[in-house]
Symmetry: none
Subunit: 520 residues, 2 copies
Amino acid sequence: MDKIFIYDTTLRDGSQGEGISFSLQDKLAITLKLDDLGVDYIEGGYPMANPKDESYFKEVKSLKLRHAQIASFGSTRRANTRVEDDKNIRALLMADTPVVTIVGKSWDFQVKNVLKVSLDENLKMVSDTIAYLKSKGKVVFFDAEHFFDGYKKNREYSLKVLHESQLSGADAIVLCDTNGGSLPAEIAEIVGDVRENIQGMLSIHVHNDGDLAVANTLAAVGRGVRQVQGTINGIGERCGNADLCSIIPNLVLKMGYHCLEDGGLRKLTEVSRYVYETANLLLRSNQPFVGVSAFAHKGGLHVNAIQKDKGTYEHIPPESVGNERKILISELSGSSTILVKVEKFNLAHDGKLMRTILEEVQNLENEGYQFESAEASFELLVRKKIGRYKTFFDLEGFRVIVEKRENGLPLTEATVKVKVNNIQELSASEGAGPVNALDAALRKALERFYPSLKNMKLVDYKVRVINPRSGTAAKVRVIIESQDKEDIWNTVGVSENLIEASWHALVDSIEYKLLKEQEF
Amino acid sequence: MDKIFIYDTTLRDGSQGEGISFSLQDKLAITLKLDDLGVDYIEGGYPMANPKDESYFKEVKSLKLRHAQIASFGSTRRANTRVEDDKNIRALLMADTPVVTIVGKSWDFQVKNVLKVSLDENLKMVSDTIAYLKSKGKVVFFDAEHFFDGYKKNREYSLKVLHESQLSGADAIVLCDTNGGSLPAEIAEIVGDVRENIQGMLSIHVHNDGDLAVANTLAAVGRGVRQVQGTINGIGERCGNADLCSIIPNLVLKMGYHCLEDGGLRKLTEVSRYVYETANLLLRSNQPFVGVSAFAHKGGLHVNAIQKDKGTYEHIPPESVGNERKILISELSGSSTILVKVEKFNLAHDGKLMRTILEEVQNLENEGYQFESAEASFELLVRKKIGRYKTFFDLEGFRVIVEKRENGLPLTEATVKVKVNNIQELSASEGAGPVNALDAALRKALERFYPSLKNMKLVDYKVRVINPRSGTAAKVRVIIESQDKEDIWNTVGVSENLIEASWHALVDSIEYKLLKEQEF
């Protein structure tokens, strides 16, 4: 089957996303990950616009890449200058990459109103730039910015720009839906027309403003495009770029195309999470293919059906993209759910033990616990029942004080007294709020005994009022997400007292961390 | 242009999403919002599976809906039973809704291996159920579960199921991509074939496992489907359902169909945020159309281009979906919403005052306040600006202590010192948790001066972490719902300290109560 070339622009267009800022080290680390995934091109940056990118292009040369080629990105020469004098073009040559991607205007309106040059001068800017870079031995891809909007307004001119780029030697022409508002049917029709009029490699680069970036990309491939541009997790400005984490598995598993180096697809989930982590962004748990809940099953009936046949509620095997099935424990779940969850402990034969666990889960769920988003607490519960659990510390007591004077900010302090191996430790800490102070004091007390707690951090904290009609006396459920270098885990606590609920979730989180390190 | 009917299943299929659990009050409040948005059908729940849903169907009858019709959801009768004896069918009739949606199997594999009945019995289960409900005067929609997977494996049988449902009187046939793995081209082809073979109203219900739910829905509409099912924000199990927040604007603004009641589209962003808030889910800032960053412009060039012409980087005008461009200090932001809210104070003529209020709202929103679900706090803000406000007490200080010994329940105490008309009052109270104790102590101190506070109670208390990546040091937003004999009102507080945030919401709630009694 046909090969589709994958052009990743996470490090360039992706980094335009709100709140995203990659350090040089981040960029190099992601480059290695992308190469390992097996993409064909990695657009590393915009050397003219960003000094950090200059260093990137220097450093990236010393990485031993298996397969991927590095591309630098820049604009066509400015109006009315010689291409060899253009600072941007010089920066591109300095970057010294095998591939150079050049963006130019293909919408007449933009040429006249934003660039403010004649339509002819724009054509020359495109052809001069490409021809010059070709004469320097580069592989040149031409990004036709706003191509689809331009085509809809002035088909003839937009096609003329493409022709010009091709005559000048562009190795691929990239059709851009810059505003991200086109529909799949439009994309298919327009790409079909381009395919009839333009020879050579076509590429597609779309944004997700209409929530259609993945479909638009697939539609373009359906009409003959053989290079696809996108970003990991669809990061990018506004609503993001087309998400390679969805495009690649659709192309490979659903449409039968060849993408990535062998075995790459199974690394997709890992790469997705790595990029979230490096970009310091929250995972989207319901993200297709690679999200932690993408193959989550809730409710006994579904789980039952899944065990009979995976295909009943799964469109692909989760392991094909390196993800895994997740069985949620919830009010609706019966024993089949629990069976699957405790598989790793080999308990299936012990019906009595299983019933005890199930009863315990149901009792706790009636109290407001929810284990579907707190698997670590669930595992602790099971371990307690089967004797594969130990305590790491005993609480002797804690006290939290919040005190406010007139309109000042409140002062918050916590003290914690614990005992570890018969040694008592008392610690105190201030905090931004009561739970923060308690968390800080508890860690302070324990880190002396368990230094690995320094490598763990709390990354998410959720509070949910369970029976809100009781007003401030309502029960609350606290869910805490923690993370270390290898794992992410969630724990839960429930109480009418928010501090108490938080305490239970904090303690579970710490116990889970210590237990997994001393697995027994 | 053709009307596309919108069938919302946020409250039923959406509530299957991980971590989503709507209270009865949440469901009723969302019902009102959806009706106000102008959807045609609201699927309220699954009465057989969920006792909470039974109460919903009772209570929803007392809501005065403008336009939407309520639907209940259930399965076809069980195998080898009489439909009138089936508990599920009885629960549906008890729900007493004008519309009933019945799900049945249309994939032969599922019939044989999951239901474990003969293909003929399955047809009878479908026809008996629909015919019976029609005889009871219901509008009946038939959900053909796994229809697309079934069609791909056994076209003839899947179409037979549709025929059977039609012969039995189904008012619409809903084609379900239950596993969410179909491609737009497949959907278009299969729906085209169905359209040629089946008369009457067709509907589409897809899941987002392939990241194509919006495109698949539009593809089905392109082939003649005239009812669309989905959820607000695409909430739902695994990767979610088709997102109505993307589908509706694409249908209306891009494809020219008619959806929603007049003016509904402009409420879309507000409804999206309301559902996130009620479901206690994080907003997806890059969500197409309704996300806070969907029209955010980064980089001077874009902003400049945007100012020359909006079309250069925007696919639709943000205000068409009730969203706004995000460029700092936009004097137009939200002004229409605010205008509506301050109508009763007759301020529209005073442009300068309006701007001051807007600025204050924007500042507070940047800090994490949200006034959409806290109108009482908003009114207090306006009153402060226009001088129709007075204080009823001054806080001299409060202290909250939570103390726990070993494994006992924590002891929680609060003391509050206030001054009213120069009289100091010190009071103390225990409580189930810190906020409850603080609330009790504050009322105790004030009731002596303001006896009417005895008639007011807090009925709902919500806590929301705003920047969860900061772990326990995250900022929290507290929303409190209060009630007296005449009214229900909501107030908000934001702080890194939960106690402080709760304090602000408590104080607003009491001030609002006292102000409305002494209206001046």
